[in-house]
Amino acid sequence: MFTSKSIAVCVSVLTSASAALAQSPQFGQPIEPADIAAWDISIGPDGAGLPPGRGTAIEGEAIYVAKCQACHGEKGIGPSVALAGALVGGMGTLAPDKTPIKTVGSYWPYATTLFDFVRRAMPFQESKSLTADEVYAVTAYILDLNGIVGSNDVIDAQSLPKVRMPNRDGFIPFPRNPK
């Protein structure tokens, strides 16, 4: 037979046990946004995350020739590495019954993606080695080769998100994603 004291002890044990269960483990360590900066390289299509700096296609050509051309080919055509793909051309090849040539110019919907990818992943043998100015310049050069910007246009955090890519409206949602 339970005494009132033993019941009280049971209740107290149950209460503390459920309190312990309710508190999920927390092993994450707080970090200041400034201390994440070196890793925070995502660029949004609205330009969010673009760093200070600037470049033009004329400035970008020398960087492209030195750092990109060996794989991607002269003027972005005829890559020597198959997976590198062509960066330039293919306009009009998305049309029905044509063999698509998907390049930055013919297929990519956002110019910001080009900056984001070059900065994080290129040049292949030494990624993340280009300065912001160099990434802006080589981005400008590839856009110029595709006839999307002029060779003297300044590409920076303000102008890049405003670049209208030819295939900007080429994408529609997949109709069978899970709700």
Partner: protein, 423 residues
């Protein structure tokens, strides 16, 4: 003639020799489904082999397959592509069951396999959260864990079947960007709750620690549903080629989204429109439009045996075996045909049948030595049926590259050799 309600083992169930699946449920095979057609003379006398007479070698710290199995390896193209870029493929035709041995799990990498020191690795969660947090691998290892068996299939798997003419390729070359493991780790929702999700967050940008910093935008709903941060693969730490020390698992979603070597999760209101979710992994349709953000790998199956390279040795009984899977749920049924899809019979499904995991299916086949075209057709528990190649092409054309899931066909010729064909 006596009409039976249920077929007996060995009874024909579909054209060109497909037998009832009951054969897998019965202890004894009946005559007619054995080696009929094979001449079976007496076996050679048994001899005592050298390994029966002297002790074998001792223990090894990490076991390896028999040297006689040295042909069971991943396949990948030779240079000139830089090492580690592109993919290696699982030799599905040499494997059984549902689990892929970790060393044979396909790989897709964009800048090689990083050699990550787990003590130096960090995972950061930031963006639209109340408390940006950083985790060591040791910290992740202290959370309550979950295990689940799940397939990962590259969005580009089977893309060779988009080609206008059937290519002379085998299972690994066509369908080998598929693997299945028991994955163990921490629910992503646990860590996102700890960081505190801001109400305007809708997406999570996941990024790897490889030199390519491979990056994809994940719907927050999926992250909170069944996403797992995997520390273990088939009971041991995740292999470097599969994301050591921690990878993202999004059960059923296209392989590219299951980011390996995971270093960063940034919560945002909108997707980042990364290279791999715009220029790649989008499906160009018959017109000039392309589907973007195609998440689930839809219902699919492939016969792994017989298949190209596995030549039949004369007429008689064969098991038709393969895998079926769906990124939308569980496999409900697999049908098999030996006459190019004119007639079908249900295959036996090997349990356990788990959601977003492959199922091994088996059908009994009495090959008469004549031409045959073997096909499998899977149905999942949402009712979705694997399309024919014609149905698949009618919906989206054959320029899409990714997410090819139509019925595949192996022709068997009179020599018993299998080849990839379109019917």
């Amino acid at each position: 003639m006596i009409r039976r309600t249920h077929p007996e083992p060995g009874d024909p169930a579909a054209g060109n020799g497909v037998l009832s699946r009951r054969i897998f449920l019965e202890a004894a095979l009946v005559a007619g489904a054995t080696g009929a057609g094979l001449s079976r003379g007496s076996a050679e006398p048994l001899t005592v082999q050298p390994w029966m007479k002297v002790p074998g070698p001792g223990f090894a710290g990490y076991g390896q397959p028999s040297p006689f199995e040295s042909k069971v390896v991943k396949v990948f193209p030779p240079p000139p592509n830089p090492a580690g870029v592109g993919s290696s493929r699982t030799p599905l035709h040499m494997l059984e069951g549902m689990i892929t041995p970790s060393g044979l799990h396909f790989e897709r990498s964009h800048s090689g396999i990083p050699e990550i020191d787990p003590d130096q690795h960090r995972l950061v969660i930031h963006g639209l959260v109340k408390r940006p947090l950083v985790f060591t691998v040791e910290a992740l290892s202290r959370y309550p864990m979950q295990s689940r068996i799940a397939f990962i299939e590259c969005g580009g798997n089977s893309q060779a079947l988009n080609a206008p003419q059937a290519q002379p390729l085998n299972v690994a070359a066509i369908h080998g960007l598929l693997g299945c493991s028991e994955w163990t780790g921490v629910r992503l929702s646990t860590l996102l709750d700890e960081a505190g999700i801001e109400p305007q967050a809708r997406w999570v940008i996941a990024e790897g620690a490889d030199a390519a910093a491979m990056s994809r935008s994940i719907p927050l709903a999926k992250a909170m549903d069944d996403a797992l941060l995997c520390l273990y693969q088939n009971g041991e730490r995740v292999r470097p080629s599969n994301g050591y020390p921690v990878r993202l698992l999004l059960p059923g979603f296209e392989g590219n989204m299951n980011v390996k070597w995971l270093r960063r999760l940034k919560l945002t209101a909108d997707p980042a429109m990364t290279k791999d979710e715009t220029s790649k992994y989008t499906i160009l349709l018959k017109d000039e439009k392309a589907w973007q953000f195609v998440f689930p790998m839809e219902v699919k199956s492939v016969i792994t045996r017989p298949s190209p390279g596995l030549t039949l040795r004369g007429p008689g009984f064969y098991e038709i075996s393969g895998q079926a899977w769906s990124g939308n749920g569980s496999i409900r049924q697999v049908d098999v045909s030996a006459d190019g899809g004119r007639s079908w019979a249900p295959a036996a499904l090997q349990g356990p049948i788990l959601p977003k995991a492959p199922v091994r299916f088996r059908a009994a086949w009495q090959w008469n030595g004549g031409p045959a075209v073997l096909q499998s057709r899977a149905t999942d528990d949402t009712g979705m049926v694997q399309p024919t190649r014609a149905q698949f092409g009618d919906e989206r054309g054959l320029r899409g590259v990714y997410h090819y899931n139509a019925i595949a066909s192996w022709r068997i010729d009179e020599k018993g050799e299998a080849s990839n064909v379109y019917v």
